[in-house]
């Protein structure tokens, strides 16, 4: 497991040999930032089918910026993002959704939008398959009871469920979720992460999630990406690798790392 | 009865004077609307649809709005070129016809000449004659009545004109400022001197340098009054009038035909206002 400060980061996937077909996304010396100013060291990373990657890092470290750059919503400062093919479908839950408070859209209609991709809106009606997928997604995201409610009247957690349902309905290959469970209650959060892990495993999709709940992230994700502006560092690896990395320990303390004796103040921010 | 529709209300008054009880007259534009822009009503479309005669000024005065009504009314009698369509400018001697090849950035709005001629009762008379001829051509059985009405109207007007001229004799050679270039025929009739216009060019609102020039000229030539139609904004005129100083005379844009005003009464009102202006009283 390569990991490093300043150094480009390599992403060895569980099936490193059968590359090509499994590879969905690839960052090459990708530098993200605003107005030409880099936020983080260059990121090198490959995202393959079956991956459940959790992105962690302090506030303002550039996680959301990275997502936007991956999706082409924002220009990179330098470096490149490759998609393995034009038919790789992606889906995204933004950290704060831009859906207007005036829009009289029901959650189910919102989830139906998830079934659109490319030019397939040229088919003016949704198919039976679409409707089945939408109902399944609503069910699976726990959004069944709010399916007929106007989106704008939902509580924040309910809104996140509706957006999650939409992402599930897309049947995308690559799913990027930016703190999808921030407003969800503890039960829903675990259910969601479990569901995503299951999807990555059974449907062979790649799921990338930003989360601030380190334990939940470590429990479900099969890879962690830690980004830090202070060090600066981009660290990729399994939970232990990341949690014991000096840059991580400097930010979050030693308590997450099994190789270190627990310090005096449990879970508290350590001095490094 | 002969159904007559006119574009502006002065024409309606004239048509009524000539046609009397044998015609039913409607005006598309009320006297208070700028005849360059008119907002018509559906029932007027109905009138147009049934009209035997449509009378317009011509000279592009109504070019912005009449063609749609004329062509949309589904009435072949009033289409251009038919006997039921009469443009009355042909009966008068047009003033301000551009002589050189028109440099249109400078000239009047109306490339064919100034169409605001019905302020001059002499033109009104000529137009009435033209209207009478056309009515006779369209409705021969009432020809005598039309001739009689025209004769009566002519007599009245010919009696009134010298009196008006008498009352406004003081205007002869008097320096005046007008707002829009609508005063050519009035000046021709009464002999006043429109030294300048508040609009730098027809249809263009006044600008500071121009207003300063106008004011300078007005003071220098001792302008007697400032003249404008009631459908133009009076703000600037009022201020300039105050600074010259000279009375601001607001003249009606046409006969108030809806209220039953005749052409004679309308010119009488115009003359009265001008007379008051001469006495230093504004409107």
């Amino acid at each position: 497991m390569a990991h490093g400060e300043h150094a480009p980061t390599q992403a060895p996937s569980p099936s490193a040999h059968q590359h090509g077909s499994d590879l969905l996304l690839c960052c090459e010396e990708l530098v993200i930032g605003y107005q030409g100013k880099a936020l983080l060291p260059p990121i090198n990373l490959q995202v393959r089918r079956g991956t459940f990657l959790a992105v962690i890092g302090r506030n303002g470290s550039g996680k959301s910026t990275w997502f936007k750059t991956l999706l082409g919503l924002q220009q990179p400062v330098s470096g490149r993002v490759f998609r393995s093919g034009p038919d790789v479908k992606s889906a995204y839950v933004p950290q704060s959704s831009g859906i207007d408070g005036m829009l009289p859209v029901r959650s189910r209609e919102l989830v139906h939008w998830g079934r659109l991709s490319g030019w397939n809106f040229l088919r003016p009606f949704s198919t039976h398959k679409d409707r089945t997928a939408v109902e399944a997604a609503l069910e699976s995201a726990g959004a069944g009871p709010i399916a007929n409610r106007p989106y704008r009247e939902l509580s924040e957690g309910q809104k996140q469920r509706a957006l999650l349902a939409r992402v599930l309905a897309t049947e995308a290959d690559l799913v990027l979720l930016d703190e999808p469970t921030a407003a969800m209650d503890a039960v829903a959060e675990r259910e969601t992460m479990q569901r995503l892990a299951e999807l990555a495993r059974t449907q062979r999709l790649a799921v990338v999630v930003v989360s601030h709940d380190l334990r939940v992230a470590a429990e479900f994700a099969n890879q962690l990406l830690f980004v830090d502006r202070e060090a600066p560092a981009v660290v990729l690896g399994d939970a232990n690798t990341v949690f014991c990395h000096p840059a991580f320990r400097h930010q979050y303390g030693d308590d997450y790392c099994p190789h270190h004796p627990p310090s005096g103040h449990p879970l508290g921010p350590a001095a490094g | 009865a002969l159904k007559v529709v006119t574009s502006v209300s002065d024409l309606a008054a004239l048509a009524k004077a000539v046609g009397g009880e044998h015609v039913q007259v409607t005006s598309l534009a009320p006297s208070t609307q700028d005849p360059h822009f008119v907002d018509a009503r559906p029932h007027l479309a109905l009138e147009l649809n049934r009209a035997d005669l449509l009378i317009a000024i011509g000279l592009e005065l109504e070019v912005g709005w009449l063609p749609t009504l004329q062509n949309g009314a589904r009435n072949n009698r009033i289409l251009s070129g038919s006997p039921g369509y009469l443009e009355v400018f042909q009966f008068i001697r047009t003033l301000e016809v551009p002589t050189t090849r028109v440099d249109r950035s400078q000239g009047d709005i109306h490339a064919g000449g100034n169409p605001h001629f019905l302020y001059d009762p002499r033109a009104g008379l000529a137009v009435a004659r033209g209207i009478a001829d056309r009515m006779i051509a369209l409705d021969g059985k009432n020809a005598d009545a039309y001739r009689a009405n025209l004769a009566k109207f002519t007599a009245e007007l010919e009696k009134a004109i010298p009196v008006w001229q008498q009352r406004l004799a003081g205007l002869k050679g008097a320096p005046l400022i007008a707002y829009h270039r609508t005063t050519a025929y009035l000046a021709d009739w009464l002999g006043f001197d429109a030294i300048t216009y508040l609009e730098p060019k027809p249809g263009i609102p006044p600008n500071p340098a121009h207003v300063a020039q106008v004011l300078g000229l007005a003071r220098q030539k001792k302008a007697r009054m400032i003249l404008q139609e009631e459908y133009y904004p009076s703000t600037t005129s009022k201020l300039v009038a105050g600074k010259v100083p000279a009375p601001l005379v607001i003249i009606p844009g046409g006969a108030d035909f809806r209220a039953g005003q005749t052409y004679l009464q309308r010119i009488e009102e115009l003359v009265t206002r001008l007379e008051n202006g001469l006495k230093g009283k504004g409107t």
Binding site: G98, P104, G118, P124 | G107
Partner: protein, 292 residues
């Protein structure tokens, strides 16, 4: 004389002359419904004053065409000038205003003021035709000429067809731009289709009916529908119906009470909004009561 006229305009008379009113009423109906449909996008994408901006830009286009003819000796058809400038205004709408730190309404305000002012300045140098600009751009809704009716009908029907056909894509791209981009929808093309259809429809309708009723159809219809808080398809349907009623009903009102047509259509649109507000109030009152 007028009072008589008013009294005698009756249904009988109306039907007698129906052939006369058929075209303008058909035109008002089509323009009202299609603009009513589009108004949902106009209102929800926060570009309420788009029709004002588009017609102002068209005015500048006409003025510039005259200017080119008079001062540069180039012959440009005034309608071409109008089309070009209003398309430019439409393209402006396709930009993302958030990048410039301003709202879409601000952008419209900028286009409105700048083209309005510039048209007057250019008009100053082409006084001859300045008066014509209004005539070229705006009809009076009382009667329409065949070509205008055809323009409204063709643009209207095409717009409605493409909008119904692409409904799912257009709504998604309009109301959740990021989501649609991520899912690979051709958001720019969809935006272009939407904005151009709004621009065109506003243009041809204003040419036939005048600026004010077009403004009313393209905003108030959706406001009435939104106030009632329906689903998205219901909102579109209701807005279309509200537009159609305003167009047709306004014409009839103008006919029977002898009022200017455009203003009648506008006021009727407004009345429909007020009615919707009353219905909403009643609904809430009933809901509130029922549950106590």
């Amino acid at each position: 004389m007028d009072p008589q006229l008013v009294e005698t305009t009756s249904w009988a008379q109306f039907w007698d002359a129906f052939e006369l009113f058929r075209d303008p009423m058909l035109c008002a109906l089509i323009a009202g419904s299609v603009l009513g449909f589009l108004s949902v996008y106009v209102v929800l994408r926060r570009m309420v004053f788009v029709s004002a901006a588009v017609t102002q830009s068209a005015g500048l286009g006409v003025a510039l065409a005259f200017y080119a003819e008079i001062h540069l000796g180039l012959h440009v058809a005034p309608t071409l000038g109008a089309v070009i400038l209003s398309l430019l205004a439409t393209l402006l709408l396709m930009m993302d205003p958030a990048r410039l730190r301003i709202s879409r309404e601000s952008m419209l305000g900028l286009a409105y003021a700048l083209t309005g002012g510039a048209a007057i300045l250019v008009g100053d140098r082409i006084s001859q035709e300045a008066h014509d600009i209004q005539g070229i751009l705006f009809g009076t809704a009382v009667l329409v000429e065949q070509p205008q009716l055809i323009a409204v009908a063709v643009v209207g029907v095409l717009t409605l067809l493409i909008h119904l056909w692409w409904f799912r894509g257009l709504t998604f791209a309009s109301f959740d731009r990021t989501g649609a981009m991520v899912q690979g929808l051709p958001v720019r093309s969809l935006d272009a289709v939407l904005m151009i259809s709004i621009g065109l429809m506003v243009g041809v309708s204003a040419r036939a009916l005048g600026a004010l009723p077009v403004f009313a159809f393209s905003t108030l219809s959706a406001i009435a529908a939104l106030v009632l808080d329906l689903r998205l398809p219901g909102t579109f349907l209701l807005a279309t119906i509200a537009g159609a009623i305003s167009g047709l009903g306004g014409y009839l009102f103008a006919y029977f009470y002898n009022f200017p047509v455009g203003a009648s259509q506008t006021v009727l649109s407004g009345m429909i909004v007020l009615l919707a507000l009353v219905v909403r109030g009643l609904k809430q009152l009933l809901l509130g009561r029922a549950s106590r």
